[in-house]
């Protein structure tokens, strides 16, 4: 209970810090949203009018606390670029990104465990180097590049899906999922390779430990030892890694979304930064910070469930 409280406190503080830093960063990098909107037709009068309308003529801290007060009460503000409430703008996009990230995560988990275990068991086999090379290649290929290849091969050549024609997810969930599957794979591939390798080296490390030798020498089946003892012990670092992955694929998704033309938050974030649309960027950054921290927290909680040593605050 105490732990949970501590985590929540940390979460709130981190989010405030992140939001403040983003706010400050925007003021430091300069660029004026009013100027960005008016472009070459800006006159001093028009700029002043628009700045006042946006509240940009107030002192920095006043602007920040105004935003914070709004955020706490559930008001994310109004987008400069669209004159629509931020919440209304980003919610549908958040949903799309969420589905894509979860799908990708599912693929990572479903594939990296069997692959990692398989690889660990046959690490001394004749062809283990083939797996290592494939893994290396998968890790090295940037998601961005993979996205271009996949949308070309699967989209243009094989016609499995129509790149650029993302269906409305809230009306055609099935076909949206179908479209997102390809993007999710592109995000997942390097991560699967990393995760599998991580699992493999942990398993191999565990297999060399004396309890494994003892268990096998006492006549236990090798597979059973792997399944019931080694795997459980190897899970902790892997789950921590998966927690990190969960956080990072949101970032990786930004580029992939752009290539696949998926209307998620990634594309929106990039364009909002360019137009200095503070309210949108603030909201998205805070939500992403929340996501990152939550992923870490959940991974920790799962690990504590698995490994009693962590619960006691001890460990190795």
């Amino acid at each position: 209970m105490k732990y949970a409280l501590r985590r929540i406190m940390a979460l709130v503080l981190t989010m405030i810090a992140v939001s403040f830093l983003t706010f400050a960063a925007f003021h430091l990098i300069g660029g004026d949203p009013a100027q960005a909107i008016l472009g070459t037709s800006a006159t001093p009068e028009r700029l002043e009018l628009l700045r006042h309308e946006m509240g940009l003529d107030r002192p920095f801290l006043v602007q920040y606390f105004h935003w914070l007060a709004g955020f706490v009460t559930g008001d994310l503000g109004t987008s400069y670029s669209y004159r629509q409430p931020v919440a209304e703008l980003i919610m549908p996009k958040l949903g799309v990104t969420f589905v894509m990230v979860m799908l990708s995560f599912l693929i990572i988990v479903a594939l990296s465990f069997p692959l990692g275990m398989q690889d660990a068991q046959h690490s001394e086999g004749k062809f283990s180097w083939v797996w290592t090379v494939i893994g290396q290649i998968c890790m090295a290929v940037p998601s961005f590049f993979l996205s271009i290849i996949v949308s070309y091969v699967c989209g243009i050549v094989l016609r499995f899906f129509t790149p650029g024609d993302f269906p409305d997810m809230y009306r055609h969930f099935g076909s949206a999922l179908h479209y997102l599957f390809f993007a999710a794979v592109c995000i997942a591939v390097p991560r699967i390779a990393m995760c599998a390798r991580m699992l493999k080296s942990t398993i191999i490390g565990e297999m060399e430990k004396s309890y494994v030798r003892t268990a096998i020498s006492r006549g236990n089946d090798r597979q059973a030892v792997l399944k019931y003892h080694v795997l459980k012990n190897s899970l902790v670092p892997t789950i921590a890694f998966l927690g990190q992955t969960m956080a990072e694929i949101v970032g990786g998704g930004i580029v992939v979304e752009q290539v696949f033309g998926i209307p998620g938050i990634g594309r929106f974030l990039v364009s909002s930064i360019a137009t200095r649309d503070y309210p949108v960027v603030q909201a998205l950054v805070v939500i992403m910070a929340f996501w990152v921290i939550m992923a870490g927290t959940i991974a920790d909680l799962i690990n504590m469930k698995i490994d009693p040593r962590l619960r006691l605050g001890g460990g190795e």
Partner: protein
């Protein structure tokens, strides 16, 4: 165990492929020709406000051209023709304009246009501080707007203004409607339906349009900021038409599916020089640059040979004012350029920076080629890429730059809007051009009421810019448009617009 693992992996892959199998098959342009709709790819989302009087981005106007109309509108040659007005008359002294309102013109919200709407729209453009200053400044010559009867509007001017007709292409809006920002209402052949930020904008044919109605029922503009995605979208069948492509991109497309049309961007691309900063304050230096920079080489290197070379600040499609004799005023002559530099006191050349907005690839490419060309006269140029925002702030507003490659458009489509910016005290004279003769000519131009005379004066101004080498004029860029086979009726305007009302599926 091993087998089970393998089976698991296989099952997962199968699940993936079955997902692939069950999804909707790809639909190309054929489906849309049956449902009579099209999808156009655009690379930039629309402005924050869709209010046509406030809108600034060219990309927004390109789309909204189909939604709004003024008393008059442009035809494909750039002339103004009656629209919401059915007829007009100009008095001999150029001070009184009499417009007859077209009968039964409807707004998209079903209301009928009356003179109050017209007066409201013009007044708003004249006085509201949110309105594009180029329009409001031009309208200051209007002395009074009078309703003679229900269909006759008399506009009295304090001084003649030959550009009033161009300004009166301003959109006519209903006077009792306050949601133009987000749900605009006009009188054009297409009505605005909806927009989703960073995703799309949807227009539908307006059934009660007074003139020749559009052919296509529904037009969706899809926003794809990455050029690769636009090309991919065309190939996959998600998009039917994309303009402003480069030749590299159009070359990727399968020519059996697409027609590639070449228009022009209707802008003046130039190496704009900061005339107030040494060494560009010296006319000889500027002329040397003009002699050194080979425009055809730029077109060949960066534009696959497409583009229309120019010699002054007017683009060729604006035929009335374009003076072709200036195009070859400077021909490539490296020796002459070196001589001029020596005469100006730079026998060993100098260094300069070329600032370019990084989001405009063609301008960046052009700058790179120029760097190469300037080496021949020992001028060391470096390209400085900046964000668009920074460009606006530093280069355009603060005029803190050596030189920049950019394209300037005419908005509204008048010679004045293209040439006024070189007046020494103009707000937007970011290149700090300062020439007394030019200022005199401009003063004369706006006071000349005879159309023919005025064209002559404007042409003299163009010549002035060329002779004094105000900037290194390069070209009006070619505009490559990919259009799906079966879709016809593409019309070019000397404006940055895409008229969807003439498009149709065969």
């Amino acid at each position: 165990m091993k087998k089970r693992l393998l089976a698991g992996i296989l099952a997962f892959c199968l699940a993936g492929t079955s997902l692939v199998g069950c999804g909707g098959a790809s639909k190309g342009g054929t489906d849309r020709s049956e449902s009579n709709e099209i999808v156009i790819g655009i690379s930039q989302d629309l402005d924050q406000s869709l209010d046509p009087h406030v809108t600034v981005a060219a990309g927004t106007k390109e789309v909204m051209f189909n939604v709004f109309e003024g008393l008059v509108k442009y035809d494909p040659d750039g002339n103004t023709i009656p629209a919401v007005a059915s007829d007009y008359e100009i008095s001999d002294d150029g001070l009184t304009y009499t417009f007859t309102l077209r009968e039964g013109v409807k707004f998209h919200n079903g209301e009928t246009v009356d003179l109050d709407d017209v007066i409201y729209s013009i007044e708003r453009c004249k006085t509201d501080p949110n309105v594009n200053p180029q329009t409001s400044t031009g309208l200051q010559c209007i002395d009074s707007l009078e309703k003679k009867d229900d269909t006759t509007l008399v506009i009295k001017l304090s001084e003649p203004n030959t550009e009033l007709m161009s300004l009166l292409t301003l959109a006519i809006l209903p006077d009792d409607y306050d949601k133009q920002d987000t749900q605009p209402v006009g009188t054009g052949p297409y009505k605005y339906v909806s927009r989703t930020a960073q995703e799309n904008v949807v227009l539908e044919r307006f059934e009660d349009y007074w003139g020749t109605p559009g052919n296509i029922d529904k037009v969706t503009y899809k926003i794809e900021e990455k050029a690769e995605s636009l090309v991919l979208g065309l190939e996959s069948g998600a998009l039917d038409l994309v303009s402003h492509l480069t030749t590299t991109q159009t070359n990727e497309l399968d020519k059996s599916d697409f027609n590639i049309e070449t228009g022009s961007m209707n802008l003046v691309q130039a190496l704009y020089l900061n005339n107030a900063r040494a060494p560009f304050d010296d006319e000889l230096v500027r002329q040397a640059l003009c002699y050194a920079i080979d425009r055809q080489y730029i077109l060949d290197m960066a534009f696959d040979g497409y583009g229309y070379p120019i010699g002054s600040n007017v683009f060729p499609s604006f035929k009335k004012y374009f003076d072709d004799s200036l195009t070859d005023y400077y021909t490539v002559d490296i020796d002459k350029a070196k001589e001029l530099l020596a005469e100006a006191g730079y026998p060993d050349g100098f260094s300069m920076t070329i600032t370019v907005p990084s989001n405009y690839q063609p301008h960046c490419d052009t700058a790179e080629v120029i760097v190469d060309e300037l080496k021949k006269i020992n001028v060391t140029a470096t390209v400085k890429k900046v964000e668009w925002d920074t460009w606006l702030d530093e280069t355009y507003k603060n005029r803190d730059f050596d030189s920049t490659v950019i394209g300037l458009t005419a908005d509204p489509l008048t010679a004045r809007s293209l040439l006024e910016r070189f007046k020494s005290d103009a707000d937007n004279n970011f290149m700090n051009y300062n020439d007394a003769e030019y200022d005199e000519l401009f003063a004369k131009a706006i006071k000349t009421y005879d159309d023919e005379e005025q064209v002559k004066v404007y042409k003299a101004m163009e010549k002035n810019l060329t002779e004094h080498a105000a900037n290194v004029y390069i070209q009006d860029m070619a505009d490559m448009i990919a259009i799906r086979k079966g879709l016809t009726g593409l019309t070019f305007y000397p404006l940055y617009v895409l008229d969807v009302s003439t498009l149709k599926w065969e």
